[in-house]
Amino acid sequence: MKSSGGTRLADLLTALALVFISAGALLLVTSRWDLPTVPLLIVAGLMIGPFVAEGELLTLAQWGIAFLVFGFGVREDLTRVKVTFTDAGWVALAQILVLGTVVIGLALWWGLSLWDATYLGIAAALSSTIVGSENLRQAIVGRKVHGWLADSVHFLEDLLAVVLVLVLTALAVGLPVADALAWGVVFFAVAFVINRFLFGALEWLAGSSQELMTMGAVTVLVGFLAASELVGISIVVGAFAAGLAIRADAERYLSMLNGLDSIQSFFSAIFFVTLGALVSWVGVEALAWVGVLVVATAVVKPGLTMVVLTLRGYDARTASRVAAGLDQVSEFALVIAIHGFLAGVLAPGLFDAIVLAAAATMVTSALTVEYGAGVYERWLRRLLGERAPSRVVRESRVEEGLGGHVIVAGFGEVGRPLVGRLLEEGERVVVVESDPRLREEHVEAAVENYVAGDASLPMVWELARAEHASLIVSTVPEPPVAEALLGLETEAVRLLEAVDREAALALLDRGVEGAFVRDSTASFQLVDDVRAVLEDPERLEEVQDANRRLLSLGGSGLW
C-alpha cells in the first residue's frame, strides 16, 4: 500500500520512525546508567527537533496524553483519598501553597503575565508519579513508610492536576469555570456508573478475549474524549474519567491491563519525544527560568517536604527519603504546559523552560534517590539537629532502672510478632520505632516501654538502656542502624538484620554476635517445608497448618 498514500503518509511514517529510532538509540547508549525513561525521551526529541515537522506528530502526541492520563485513571484507587490525607496531604498542600505561590510571586515580580506565572508555579509544585514511582518501586512494593508516603503525595497531586487542567482550560477557552467543574463532576459520575454497571456487561460480551477487552477499554476512552470535546472541557479530564470507568481488579483483568499498557507505552513515548522536539529556541530568560525551576524543585521542594514531615513527627531518614522521591517536575505539569502552549496562553520560551526543567530534574531525581537522600538527611540534621533529641525524650517511655531486658528495633512484619512472642514468655521488652503512625496505633498498645526515635541515633539506644539489656534484635536492615549498634558498649547479644548476604557476612566479620537476612532465613525454613512435602505428600496438611498459624501471628497487616 506504499504508493497509495503519497508523500504525507511517507512523511508521517518517517517522522514516526525518527521518533522511535532516536529514542531507541538514546536509551541504548544510556542503558548502563540507571536513568528514568521519560527525560531520555524528551532529550531524544530535542535531538530530532530540527529534522521533523512537529505538526504531523502533534495529533499522535495528543493520543499520547490521552493514554497517559487514562493510565493514571486506570491505576488510581480513589478510596485512598480518605486514608492518605493526613500526612501526605500536608506535604502536597505545602508544596502547592508555599512553593507554587512563591514561584508565581517571583514570576509576577519579574513582570510575567499571570498565565505564564501560573504555569511556572504548577511546574514547580507538582511532582512526577512516573519517575517517582520508578525510583521508589522497591520501597512502594515493600510497603516501606517512605515509599508509601511519596506515592500518596503523588496520588493527591495527580488528582489536583486534573482539577487544575479542568479550570485552566476553561479559562483559556472562555468557558465559565463553574460550568467546567460541573461537567467534571458529571464525567466522574458517568465513569462511576460505567465502572459499576456497564463494565461487567463488557466483560460478559468479550468473554475470554483479551483483544476485545482491550479494545472495549479503548472505546470507553474514545467515548469520553469525544464527550469532552463536545462540551468543551479538556480531554485530560475525559481521559482520566475514562480510566476510572474501566479501573479494574488487576487479578481478573491482567491481560486487558497488559494490552493497555503496551498501547500506552507506544503513544506516551511519542508524546514525550514530541515534547522535546517542540522546544525550539532557548533564550537567556528561558534558561534563567530553567534555573529557577530546577532550584525550586531540587532544592527548595525537598527542604519543604522534610520540614513538614519532621513537624509531623517523622525521623530524618524517612523524611529525607520521601523528599528524594518528590524532587522532580511532574509529567502532569508537562501536560498542563502543552495545553497552555497550544492554547496560546503560555509563552513559547517559558514552555521550553518547563520542558527542559522537567527533563533535568527527572534525571537529577534518579540520582538523589540513589545518593541524595543521604545529602538531604545531613542538611536536615544540621537544620533541626538541636530539636530532635528533646522530642525523642518527650515521646519515649522507658521504665527507670530497667535491666536484663530485650530490645527490639522496628515494629514491622518481623518485629511485631517477635515482640508478641517475647511478651508471652514474660520477657521485658523495649521497642524502638520511629514511625509516628505505627507508634500511636500499635506500639503504645502493645508494650509498656518504647523509644520513639530513629534506631541509627546513639541516644535512642541510651534511652532504651542498651548497656543493661541482655538481647538486642534489630529488624531494620539499614547500615546506619548497624553502625549505631556496632558502636554500642553492651554485654547484650546483638542480632541484626542485614539487607543482603554480603552485608550480613561483613557484620559478622566486624564482631556482632548474630546477623540474618530476611529472604535467606525464610528460604532455609522453606526448604525444610518443601522437602517434607515432597518426601511425604501426606504431610502437606501438617506443614500447611503450621504455616497458617505462623501467618496469623503477623496479625492483619499494618497498612
Binding site: 500500500m1 506504499k2 497509495s4 498514500g5 503518509l9 508521517l12 511514517l13 518517517t14 520512525a17 522511535f20 529510532i21 531507541g24 542503558s31 525513561t37 495529533t59 495528543q62 512494593v141 510497603r143 468473554g207 478475549s209 483483544e211 476485545l212 482491550t214 479494545m215 472495549g216 474514545v222 474524549l225 470535546e229 488487576a250 481478573r252 497488559n258 503496551s262 498501547i263 512484619e413 518481623v414 517477635l418 512472642r421 547479644v493 542480632l495 543482603d500 548476604r501 548474630g514 540474618f516 530476611r518 529472604d519 532465613t521 525464610a522 528460604s523 532455609f524 525454613q525 522453606l526 517445608d529 515432597l534 502437606l540 500447611q544 505462623l550 501471628l553 503477623g554 492483619s556 497487616g557
Partner: protein
C-alpha cells in the same frame, strides 16, 4: 486543543469495530471478520461516514507493519524443529498446487491474465490469526496437527513476503519482468536477511541483553528496531511490510522474543483493526458484489480443493490419518493476506476495486465458515472416520513431540527460590525456571536448568512452561494477579507454593487454593523464635545455634 483528531474517523472506526467485534464474539466468529464488516458498514457500501485518509491510513500501514513484525518474531525455528523436513515438503508443494488450483479456477471464471495471477498468488495463504486463535482457545496448538499447520503457515509467511515484494514491480503479466523483479527482490531480501541474521547473531544478543531487564526500554527498542528496517526497505523501494518482517525475524531466535511478542501483540491488535476496517472503506457496494457469483463458486472449489491438497501432502509424509485430516481441515480458508496482497495490487493498478471486492467476499465467506469447521474439527472427524479409514496403514505413525509433563516450575530466581532449586532438581526430571533477568538466565543455564525468559503476566510465557501439566509450582512473585492466574492454570493436584507480600494477600491466596503461601517475614519470625528459645536456654546454646545459621548463610547452593 480543538485540533485533536478525536471526532475523527479513527475514533469512529475503533468504537464501531469494537461493537462489531463484541457482536461477532457472540456468534463465535473471529474479530477479523468483524473488522472487515466494520469497514463495509462505515464505508461507501453502507453509511459512507468515514474515509481512509491521513491518520487512518497511517494507522492501517502501521497495523500491517506490526502484523508482519509480529509474524517475524514468531518464526522460532525451535518450535517446529522436530517436524521441519516434512513441514517444508508440505509447505512448498502446497504452495505450488494451491496456486495452480486457484489459477485454474480464476482463469475458468474469466478473469484477465493479470487478475488471474493476482488471485492465484493471493489466495494460497492460510489464515494464520484464525487458525492460531481457534486452536489456542481449544488448546490444540501444540498437538501434532497444530504444529504442522503452524509450520506450514510460517513458511507461507516467507512466501508472502516475496509476493508482496514482487508486487512492488511495475508489471506482473510480463514473465521477463517478473523474473527480473523476483531476482532483485530476492537479492535484496538475501542482503537484508543476511544483515538481519548477522545482527541476530552478533549485535542483538548483546544489545538486548543490556536492556532486557528494563521493561519499557526493551519494548521501545524493539519498536525502534522495526522502524530501522522499515526505513531501510522504504529507502530501497521495497514495501514496508518486508522490512518489518525481517526485523521481526532477526529477533525471533533470541531468548527474549516471546516477551517482546507479548508486548507488541496488543499494539498490533489495535492498529490491525484499523487496517482491516480500511479495506472495507475502499470498497463500494458495486465493487463488493460485482463478482459475487464467481466468489461463491471459487470459494466452494477452493474450500474443497485446499482440503484435499493438504490431506494428500500430509498423508504423503506418513503421518496418521487423523493428523492428516485435522491438519488439513484447519487450513481450508482464504486468508486475510489475500486482502493484503489484493490491496497492494490495487494500489499498484494491477487489479481494480471489483477484484478486491471478489477477494474480500471470498475471505469473509471462507473465514467465517472455517471458524466453525476448526471449532468442530474433532467432531467432524468422528463422523467421517469410516470413510477415511481406507488410507490407514501400518507404516503411518505420528512422531512423538517432547513436552513438559510432571515437571516443576519455579518463577523468579532470587534468594528464596535459589535454595529450593537443588531440592527440586533431586525430585523432578525437569525443572523449569521462569525469570526476566538476563544475568539470572545465564547463571541458571550454567547450573543446568531449563530457563524461560519472560514475565509470567504473559500468556505465551505461561504456555511455554506448560503449567497445566506441572506437578510442582513455586512462585517467588508476590503479585497476587500473577499468583491467582497460576492457581487457575495449574492442575488441581499440583502442589502450588507462592509468595505473598502481606497477611491480607496471604489469606487470599490460601482461599484461592494455594497449597502453601510463603511470607518471608513470617518464615523469618519462625526462625527467630527458634533462636529465642535457644536464648532462654542460655547464652551458649544461642551462640551455637547462631553459628549453625551463619554456616548456612555462607553456603552457596548453586556453587
Amino acid at each position: 486543543m480543538t485540533t485533536i483528531a478525536l471526532a475523527a474517523d479513527f475514533a469512529i472506526i475503533v468504537a464501531a469495530a469494537t461493537v462489531m467485534g463484541l457482536i461477532a464474539r457472540q456468534l463465535g466468529q473471529p474479530t477479523i471478520v468483524a473488522y472487515l464488516a466494520t469497514g463495509l458498514v462505515l464505508g461507501p457500501v453502507m453509511f459512507d461516514v468515514v474515509t481512509a485518509e491521513g491518520l487512518v491510513e497511517l494507522m492501517a500501514e502501521l497495523g500491517l507493519g506490526f502484523l508482519l513484525f509480529l509474524l517475524g518474531i514468531k518464526m522460532r525455528l525451535d518450535d517446529i524443529r522436530e517436524i521441519l523436513r516434512p513441514v517444508i515438503n508440505i509447505a512448498v508443494l502446497q504452495t505450488v498446487l494451491q496456486t495452480a488450483l486457484a489459477f485454474g479456477v480464476a482463469y475458468v471464471l474469466g478473469f484477465s491474465m493479470t487478475e488471474t495471477v493476482v488471485i492465484a498468488l493471493a489466495t494460497v495463504f492460510g489464515a494464520t490469526p484464525i487458525i492460531v486463535k481457534v486452536l489456542t482457545d481449544k488448546d490444540e496448538i501444540t498437538t501434532l496437527p497444530g504444529k504442522i499447520d503452524v509450520g506450514v503457515l510460517i513458511i507461507q509467511d516467507i512466501y508472502l513476503v516475496i509476493v508482496l515484494a514482487m508486487f512492488s514491480a511495475e508489471n506482473i503479466a510480463n514473465p521477463r519482468e517478473i523474473g527480473v523483479t523476483l531476482l532483485v527482490v530476492l537479492g535484496m531480501m538475501v542482503a537484508i536477511g543476511f544483515i538481519a541474521i548477522a545482527s541476530s547473531r552478533y549485535v542483538l544478543p548483546r544489545l538486548f541483553k543490556t536492556i532486557a531487564d528494563k521493561k519499557d526500554v526493551f519494548f521501545l527498542l524493539g519498536i525502534a528496531w522495526a522502524f530501522v528496517f522499515i526505513l531501510v526497505t522504504e529507502h530501497f523501494n521495497l514495501s514496508v511490510e518486508v522490512g518489518a518482517f525481517l526485523a521481526g525475524l532477526s529477533i525471533a531466535q533470541l531468548p527474549y522474543s516471546t516477551e517482546l511478542e507479548e508486548r507488541i501483540a496488543p499494539l498490533t491488535d489495535f492498529f490491525i483493526l484499523v487496517f482491516f476496517s480500511s479495506i472495507g472503506l475502499h470498497l463500494a457496494a458495486d465493487d463488493l458484489l460485482a463478482y459475487w457469483v464467481e466468489a461463491v463458486i471459487a470459494s466452494i472449489i477452493l474450500l474443497v480443493g485446499n482440503f484435499w491438497i493438504m490431506f494428500y501432502l500430509i498423508d504423503r509424509e506418513k503421518f496418521s490419518v487423523e493428523t492428516s485430516f485435522l491438519g488439513s481441515i484447519n487450513m481450508i480458508q482464504v486468508s486475510e493476506f489475500s486482502l493484503v496482497v489484493g490491496g497492494l495490487a490495487l494500489a499498484q493498478g494491477f487489479i481494480d476495486a471489483q477484484v478486491l471486492g471478489f477477494l474480500s467476499l471470498m475471505a469473509l465467506g471462507t473465514m467465517t465458515f472455517s471458524t466453525y469447521v476448526i471449532t468442530y474439527n474433532n467432531e467432524i472427524y468422528d463422523r467421517v472416520r469410516p470413510f477415511f479409514s481406507r488410507w490407514e496403514s501400518e507404516e503411518k505413525r505420528d512422531v512423538a513431540l517432547r513436552t513438559y509433563e510432571g515437571h516443576a516450575v519455579a518463577i523468579g530466581y532470587d534468594e528464596i527460590t535459589r535454595r529450593v532449586l537443588p531440592l527440586l532438581d533431586e525430585h523432578f526430571d525437569d525443572v523449569i525456571v521462569i525469570d526476566r533477568r538476563t544475568d539470572h538466565v545465564d547463571t541458571l543455564k550454567a547450573a543446568g536448568f531449563d530457563v524461560i525468559y519472560g514475565d509470567l503476566r504473559h500468556r505465551e510465557v505461561r504456555k511455554a512452561a506448560n503449567l497445566a501439566k506441572a506437578s510442582f509450582v513455586l512462585s517467588s512473585s508476590a503479585q497476587t494477579e500473577i499468583n491467582a492466574r497460576l492457581i487457575d492454570e495449574t492442575a488441581d493436584d499440583a502442589l502450588v507454593f507462592m509468595e505473598a507480600e502481606n497477611h491480607k494477600d496471604a489469606v487470599r491466596m490460601y482461599e484461592a487454593g494455594a497449597d502453601y503461601v510463603i511470607m518471608p517475614a513470617s518464615l523469618t519470625v519462625q526462625s527467630l523464635i527458634g533462636l529465642l528459645e535457644a536464648y532462654r536456654e542460655g547464652r551458649e546454646t544461642l551462640e551455637s545455634k547462631l553459628e549453625d545459621a551463619h554456616e548456612k548463610l555462607r553456603g552457596n547452593p548453586l556453587g
